[in-house]
């Protein structure tokens, strides 16, 4: 099989046990792993195929047989918009099933310029090491004196050690204290900035004694139609800049734009304004990954107060949302400090704050006492306490640190049914971003039920309901110069989706109004479409922040992806073909989890009772969310059985015939 343009052309396979690195040509890799690049594209597509072959049954996620897979796609490192992303995959230490996470900044581009589409790391080193990929020359180096260092220091030391010739030449993906101490939700962090956050990759790297991967990439990526690629990218980005109603506010506030939606904190709130002003937020430069036209980061610096002088490349939505909602951090400068602290220690902010929040609930309910917390009185909103507990967790210090480091699911298991009953939103042993699934819109929370990596919202990431919720609809459109109804209409008009599908989701004629937001009509189908769409851009690999139905309202849809991808690769893929790629990858992830973990309908459930009780606030006040009804409707739309597994017909339709013999489906 020939390798299309747009791919770097090589795969690195590094065995830490034998300390050997192999570089194999991509066509050989495609043959070995039964990959047709047009069917699987890259990113999550490759990761799932690799896991399917290499790890065919359940393993100890912290054992040497687990793998770290860094997969770029044909989109990565080209002149296409938002080309700075890659996926990091492994078996999740939290769930034991499939896991992957998207990350950016410049490591993904560097690894592709070095010549690698995919890097697979196996085995376990005897002592701490880091990997240096100097273009195609791969060495495994001693990391004894870097072990124990926090993220920023690690990046600096490694850049010195490999003699970086100009700043930014060498890019470093590293773990920190949390990964070394095998906190279950440790992250790897790219250049101390962008992390494949919810993958658990940091823990797996820690279990392999792998401190970091450093890359110097000076090569180039061949393009099928360079001028065509530039023309299409130019048109797509300019269309976006002209038509996207939220772009101005997005540029000022990055991904915290959605704070009003996700944290019920109106953007007009004076407190937030004062906080942002203190951090000089809207006036500082945005910070973008490769070719980004809608940057979500800011270069921040705190001007006044106890954290004066603190610099941070961030201001990211997840940190702010979990900081506010789960642990009650109220001030902007403290959010920024919290973000920096979490990145320096290498923790997943969602899983950590959910564990912390859960511990507070357990403490308040008397299920744990000061005996379990090393004498600390747990509460939300006390920043000194939060910083202390964060450090304790990363270092697995004391009873409290060890308890939180094991995460929500393990805590519940150890503490018994009383604790299990009040578990925050958790599916397949992995917590989501917030305590109560009913607080947010339906599709957003529903995504946690069906996500292949456990209770996580990012695989069905769709903010359309969120933006239109009663509590945000009055403030959000005000900032973009449109009424709520005008915004609804504009979004519907611009959404890159065939008309018949729009009618099935939004009614005939398609219409979004308060009833649609509150109801369940069309939601299962919108959920399925969104999941396939997310799986698609995770295979390309490109960023969710430029994609339709993500934080910005218009965004790129499959048509734009198809046009640009064709210019890169020389293919002639269509909208439908690309959506099938997404569906294929999503189905294989589902099958993979069934194959190694047996997950089916019985596991598509929130732990505890909270999600199944009547809501107390928001649109589900006094109502029970009909999770199981939507779930069955969703299965049917996916072509799955009521047990939640793909039928043989579905597998044939998705060209998954070749693996029919390798997984035993119930009759």
């Amino acid at each position: 099989m020939s390798v299309p343009k747009g791919y770097a052309g090589n795969i690195a396979i590094i065995d830490l046990t034998s300390q050997e690195a192999q570089v194999i040509p991509a066509d050989q890799f495609f043959k070995d792993y039964d990959i047709d690049p047009r069917l699987w594209v890259g990113g999550d597509g490759f990761i799932t195929k690799i896991l399917w072959k290499d790890i065919p049954e359940a393993i100890d996620p912290l054992g040497p047989e687990n793998e770290i897979i860094i997969a770029t796609g044909p989109w990565t490192a080209t002149a296409a918009p938002q080309a700075g992303r890659a996926m990091l995959g492994c078996i999740s230490p939290e769930t034991g099933g499939f896991s992957s996470g998207s990350f950016g900044w410049y490591f993904p581009a560097a690894v592709k310029y070095a010549g690698f589409d995919v890097t697979i790391i196996r085995g376990k080193a005897e002592k701490p090491v880091y990997i240096f990929m100097d273009n195609k020359e791969i060495t495994i180096r001693d990391a004894t004196n870097i072990w124990g260092k926090e993220t920023g220091e690690t990046v600096k030391l490694i850049r010195e050690d490999v003699e970086e010739r100009f700043e930014g030449e060498v890019r470093v993906l590293s773990i920190s204290i949390a990964g070394e101490n095998l906190v279950r939700y440790a992250v790897a962090c790219g250049d101390a900035t962008s992390c494949p956050g919810r993958s658990g990759g940091g823990t797996v790297m820690g279990s392999k004694n792998l401190k970091a991967i450093a890359v110097r990439g000076n090569g180039e990526i061949q393009i099928d139609d360079p001028q065509g690629l530039l023309d299409s990218s130019y048109v797509a980005v300019n269309k976006f800049i002209e038509e996207e109603p939220t772009l101005k506010i997005w540029k000022e506030h990055g991904s915290t734009t959605s704070l009003s939606a996700t944290a019920n904190w109106p953007l007009t709130g004076t407190r937030l304004a004062e906080n942002r002003d203190a951090a000089d937020f809207p006036k500082l430069n945005n910070a973008g990954c490769l070719n980004c036209f809608a940057p979500c980061y800011h270069w921040l610096q705190i001007k006044e107060g106890p954290y004066a002088g603190l610099r941070q490349l961030g201001g990211h939505m997840t940190f702010l949302t979990v900081g506010l909602r789960n642990i009650g951090i109220q001030d902007f400068d403290k959010w920024v400090y919290f973000e920096r602290l979490i990145q320096e220690l290498g923790l997943d902010p969602a899983s950590f704050t959910m564990a912390f929040s859960y511990a507070v609930d357990l403490f308040v309910n008397g299920i744990i006492t000061t005996e379990d917390t090393d004498g600390l009185t747990l509460s939300r909103g006390d920043e000194e306490l939060i910083w202390e507990v964060t450090r304790k967790t990363a270092y697995r210090e004391g009873k409290l640190g060890n308890m939180l480091a094991d995460g929500v699911a393990e805590m519940a298991k150890k503490l018994g049914p009383e604790a299990e009953a009040i578990m925050p939103q958790t599916v397949k042993d992995k917590p989501s971003i917030q305590r109560d699934a009913k607080l947010q819109a339906l599709i957003w929370s529903f995504g946690a039920l069906t996500s292949p990596r456990g209770g996580d919202w990012l695989r069905l990431h769709n903010v359309w309901e969120l933006a239109f919720l009663p509590e945000s609809r009055d403030t959000y459109p005000e900032f973009i110069g449109m009424t709520c109804l005008e915004l609804y209409e504009r979004c519907l008009e611009l959404l890159d989706m065939p008309d018949d599908l729009k009618k099935r989701i939004f009614g005939d004629p398609p219409k979004i109004n308060a009833n649609w937001v509150r109801g369940i009509e069309g939601k299962a189908l919108f959920a399925k479409w969104s999941e396939d769409f997310v799986a698609l851009f995770d295979t390309l690999v490109t960023c969710m922040f430029g994609a339709a139905t993500q934080f910005m309202m218009v965004g790129f849809g499959p048509s734009t992806y198809a046009e640009i991808l064709n210019k890169i690769t020389g293919w002639d893929v269509t909208y439908d073909e690309l959506m099938k790629v997404g569906e294929r990858v999503f189905n294989l992830e589902r099958l993979y989890n069934y194959r190694i973990k047996g997950w089916d309908v019985k596991d598509d459930r929130f732990a505890g009772k909270l999600a199944y009780e009547e809501g107390t606030i928001g649109i589900y006040r006094g109502k029970v969310v009909p999770w199981d009804i939507i779930l069955q409707e969703y299965y049917a739309l996916r072509g799955w059985t009521p047990e939640g597994l793909p039928t043989k017909e579905k597998m044939t339709e998705l060209k998954l015939d070749s693996i029919l013999d390798e997984v035993k489906l119930p009759d």
Binding site: Y113, K156, I249, C292, P295, Q312
Partner: protein, 183 residues
Amino acid sequence: MEEKAIVFDPSLCTGCMRCMTTCSTYNFGATSLSKSRIHIMRHEGHAITRMDEEDELIFEALACRQCDKPYCMYFCPTRAIKKYEETGALSINYDKCIGCRMCIVGCPFGAIRYNTDKKQPFKCELCEGDPQCVKFCPTGALEFVSKDLVHIPKLDFIARKVVELRPGAAEEVPAGEEKNVSA
């Protein structure tokens, strides 16, 4: 024709390097940062330096200045570099170039790079008068302006600094920014 030059406003740059990927794709036919004729030098210590360390975010765009007294041209022993009057661009004639890299020695800015595969120097030649880096910059940090206006971004920056440093300025809300502040 009016002589124009590329100017760069670091306060608008996000560091996304789209200028570089565009340049290499347009001029080299493949995407690469190392084959770009424009280079964004960066210091991005924000996430890496400690709180007590002095640090500042730095971006600077380096591309050929298309000098009016071009040392690269004077240093070239084979007269391979020529100034094109229509665009104002200094261009390398590869039929004459011998790969001696004296142009790189002559250039005071390090704006000429060397392609070790082709054994040729390469530099910004203003894309036939329509610099693609400027066209593709998503924030407007790069502009292609008449040479008598190249000082404006810097002047603008200094003017804003002066306003900020004015006594009592810290307590004032700048005119027209009320909306931003309340955001």
